[in-house]
Symmetry: D2
Subunit: 343 residues, 4 copies
């Protein structure tokens, strides 16, 4: 079978690096271009020595981005760029007929007004919002299949939406009751060169941040509202913890159904999903079981003392939370088995 030619715009951050890792190993993908203004002229192997054994990594050099070239030579272009910047490339590429998988926040929202509220600048390409598909396969597999522009979900939203959407759809939790307390590894901040992310500032430290109105609430509440059929407002507190990778989310919910119904709802939604693992027995999620993989592990407990439902999930923030999910979408869009290059 002919391989699909792919390019990555913005391949020097953590999400871009992870895309490189996954695409170099993907049996159906042919990585033809990687961009980085900073590293232009250097090979993948020079910047990321861990790929040095791979001939492609030794030969392929970072370039400046070239939209026309990519539109012509690549079948699919991945954008691993900051929000705002991604949209500019997306517009040009979509206009030139390219298929785009965007890892930024630029096309996750349906409303340009909400985008402006949460991202503090006007949306650069509101006309594309209606065309884009939210790249959460467990929810939008069919739409992803035919999409020309996929907006991959944020890392936190993935960890929150996967466990809650089926329960909300089955009307087994009170929509306004959702509280999500999330813990993220430091790669979640990107390869940002700021004091806050220095080793000695993060190590032996744990801290909340960005509350109470973190940007990810915009896509979270959009997706929750769509499923609930009413406007949902939720609570979300992210924390930074000293691990490289991993998100652990603990959800506090008010159940509207029995434990049996809750278990059945999750089973029914996810028993056949290739990347959702419902834990059994006494097992609870632990990020170390999912790091480096595209799995999301989920467990839940009903507390009969308080009548609250506690749902916990664990994922790798830059695999299932970002780049792995992008590959999962890529597989769906190309009719490859969904686990290709991911298991």
């Amino acid at each position: 079978m002919k391989k699909v030619k792919v390019a990555i715009v913005g391949a020097s951050g953590y999400a871009g690096e992870e895309l490189v890792r996954l695409l170099l190993a993907h049996p159906q993908a042919d990585l033809t271009a990687v961009t980085s203004r900073q590293y232009a002229g250097q090979s993948l192997a020079q910047i990321f020595p861990k790929f040095a054994h791979c001939p492609k990594a030794r030969s392929l050099r970072f370039t400046e981005p070239n939209v026309e070239l990519f539109a012509e030579e690549a079948n699919v272009v991945f954008l691993a760029l900051p929000h705002g910047v991604a949209a500019e490339y997306a517009v040009s590429l979509v206009n030139l007929g390219s298929t785009v998988i965007d890892l930024s926040a630029d096309f996750r929202l349906k409303s340009a007004a909400v985008y402006e509220e949460f991202y503090a600048h006007e949306h650069p390409a509101p006309e594309l919002l209606a065309k884009s598909v939210y790249g959460l396969p467990e929810r939008y597999r069919k739409e992803i299949k035919h999409a020309k522009l996929v907006a991959c979900p944020g890392c936190y939203p993935t960890s929150i939406l996967v466990p809650t959407l089926p329960l909300l759809k089955s009307k087994l939790i009170r929509p306004q009751s959702i509280i999500a307390d999330s813990l993220s590894g430091v790669t979640g901040a990107g390869r940002k060169v700021e004091v806050d992310y220095l080793f000695a500032e993060c190590n032996e430290s744990v801290r909340p941040y960005g509350l109470p109105k973190h940007r990810h609430l915009s896509e979270l509440e959009q997706e929750l509202s769509l499923v609930a059929g009413e406007k949902v407002t939720m609570q979300f507190t992210p924390h930074l913890i000293p691990v490289n990778r991993g998100i652990l989310t603990t959800l506090y919910l008010e159940p509207l159904g029995t434990p049996q119904q809750i278990g059945d709802s999750l089973q029914s939604a996810y028993a056949d999903e290739p990347f959702v693992r419902l834990l059994e027995g006494k097992a609870l999620p632990d990020t170390k079981n999912v790091v480096g993989t595209n799995f999301i592990d989920i467990a839940w407990r009903h507390d009969s003392r308080t009548n609250r439902l506690i749902v916990m999930s664990a994922e790798d923030n830059i695999v299932k939370g970002t780049s792995g999910q992008a590959i999962q979408c890529f597989n769906i869009m190309n009719d490859f088995p969904e686990t290709t290059g991911l298991i």
Copy 2:
């Protein structure tokens, strides 16, 4: 001034080691005995090389516990023992007239039935429960002053009760609404030699555990109920994170008053407390700011979108959460300035 003679029963765990550190440096304490069956005969300096410069640490040797001797030669005996075991020593020591500061859970509860429900064995000395004082100075300073048996609070309860008690007392939060999501460093498990606490099992891992009915709920709900004047049931989820020390607690609460009233309540309760720091401006708690100290840092945010109150605290689990708090009680009991040996 004559120093107070002190002994530590069970000085080889993390809490005991921290008591050793604090008491060796305490200007009014004279550490006269430390016990450990495992290390009997060896000096403090041999087992804890970090104290090796201290002459007392080179001369003082671990012994088998000897209740009669301690009752005679020590003015105050600290118990850093597992629950169940601590009670046996406490009974003998109290009967012999000793003053006891117990770091275990054995005398924190007023009800032997609740103890049995949560600790799964009969209470070994129910007759002492009425005599013991819960060693949280911010709440029970007066009672601690005259106590002969102080039961130091658990590490999680300290991080939860200090921020919530004033709000509950002022009727500014709905008592049944309390959700506490806590993150603890690995020393919180004690120097327990179990697979779960090996370096490679904890490092690059974060996981919830012990939910939904963790033992600490028994003392939490007792103290919350006493202040609320009604039976309080709360939600509590502890998580293990890869740091040595520190607890970060995020509380989700339903406010019954205005942000102004909430701020005033905390200010009024804690402006003069030596070890409670209310953070100002944009600052949020970070365990790295309290590790190694007896401080608890607190910040709060009102979320106008959800009308929830988020209160966050950070403490060192084995200082303010355990051994530092024990020294704070010790200072109160002996009429020393409360910060002696702690700042």
Copy 3:
């Protein structure tokens, strides 16, 4: 092609777990049995939840070891057992005609006397020492191909021998000058439940141990002497550092040739080796580039001020240092491409 049936005796430690990971993913291996006295009756997925998505991991259960059964049903048996114990199984299996790949130290030495000197007990099966092959493919590929009993090298020796053997063979370093300073992640100690390996004892700590006569010196000096053609005695100091995986070795050597000759010797030895990466330019080894892989990264510098040669290597202690190397041997023994299941 028919798959090779394999069994793992002692699959619950870190080396065993890594063998499980590699063999579950190996396209030519069929994992038919895993043993663990402790976990007998439980499935791989229950004990190692990270494999839970794999049907084989859900169905295959730990058993008590059964030598006769394995000899009959498995083509190759991997032993991931403590030294001393491994030999007993090896004897029975070899006698029953099995092919054995042993990860312990039991068959690495040619001399039972040296074994006794370093391991402090009589060798349990000295008659097998002559039959075993030291499983370092870069040195003994041909012998491994036809071996019935392969003794995989220790993790430290791999990191030291790979960089030094070609130099010693080319007589480019003085044999008695070798000093190896090694830093190992904590999995190197195995899943040993001892105080020394608790999270809070290793985190924020770095310490030397086991010097000056670490057990690995026995196989190191044996292999160095064989290549040098004279009895080599070397210096070796291991250190424990707070990472899960990875060994970084820094070698201090006295060169007998020019920098050009040294570079040529390494290039000539390793340019075509699939798992040895000679770093170019300013690059220096970093364990994070090899963790999770079977690669060993090597760089060297000649110090013209001191006329010393500094050679540095990085590997994953439980992949190239243990289980990955075992799979590399397995591939060689079965005429599979050497990188099968490893890249």
Copy 4:
């Protein structure tokens, strides 16, 4: 007794922050000024929340540096600035009659030519080199006592010189044989905002750097040569390990005397030193025993197989390695007991 007024120029880096910590707690020091261009106008407590309980930290604000003011109002000025920059301030301050304790490399060398060779720019104030004293109390206590300009040693040199100087002085080691392999925590790089020091680049990583001609060799070889009475050239390889603080150095030496003589030499040099701890019995240095303190722990082993001497030391790189040593010098210069504010 009247307190000594002190100022810190460059108080926002890790060394500066540690000076702040030590000076706020020092019973004989009165911290009157702290400078930072970046944080000018903000209080110590705002930038370093861990000091927020201290009234001085709440009131004292960072200012732009003002040499004239400091010369007038401070008795001693600490410089925690990059090399090159420090010299400019030192010149002005010394000319104005101030006493200066410089933590940079600017006045550690006696030779402006060597400085230029290692620091790649002309020395900014060669005329002061002869006046400065190398601030290693164990070697230059008498000279420090009367110095107006003290140049505190680098963190690595402290860990290497303390264990080797007595042996070299007693002619018990071959001067040209010294090999130092050092492992440093990430604060050693300063609060430098570079990709290399981001959490996710350092965590789960260990790597050598800066070899074979690290800048610290200049002061190391100067001090070794002075004691040896001959020009000494040594080997030094630093490594970065994922801990916040701590240096572990392993020295490989050729002994010229007996083990007894070596032990006697170290005992004789250090038995009465307040901050040097010679470990006994089987104990080996571990950074966790010295972190946060001004101690340096030393152990040694003679390897009879190789006739090499292995000496190991552990210190906190920003206490004994930098700021604590500066305070030790400060105490000596002011006739305070040397441990004041340090134990």
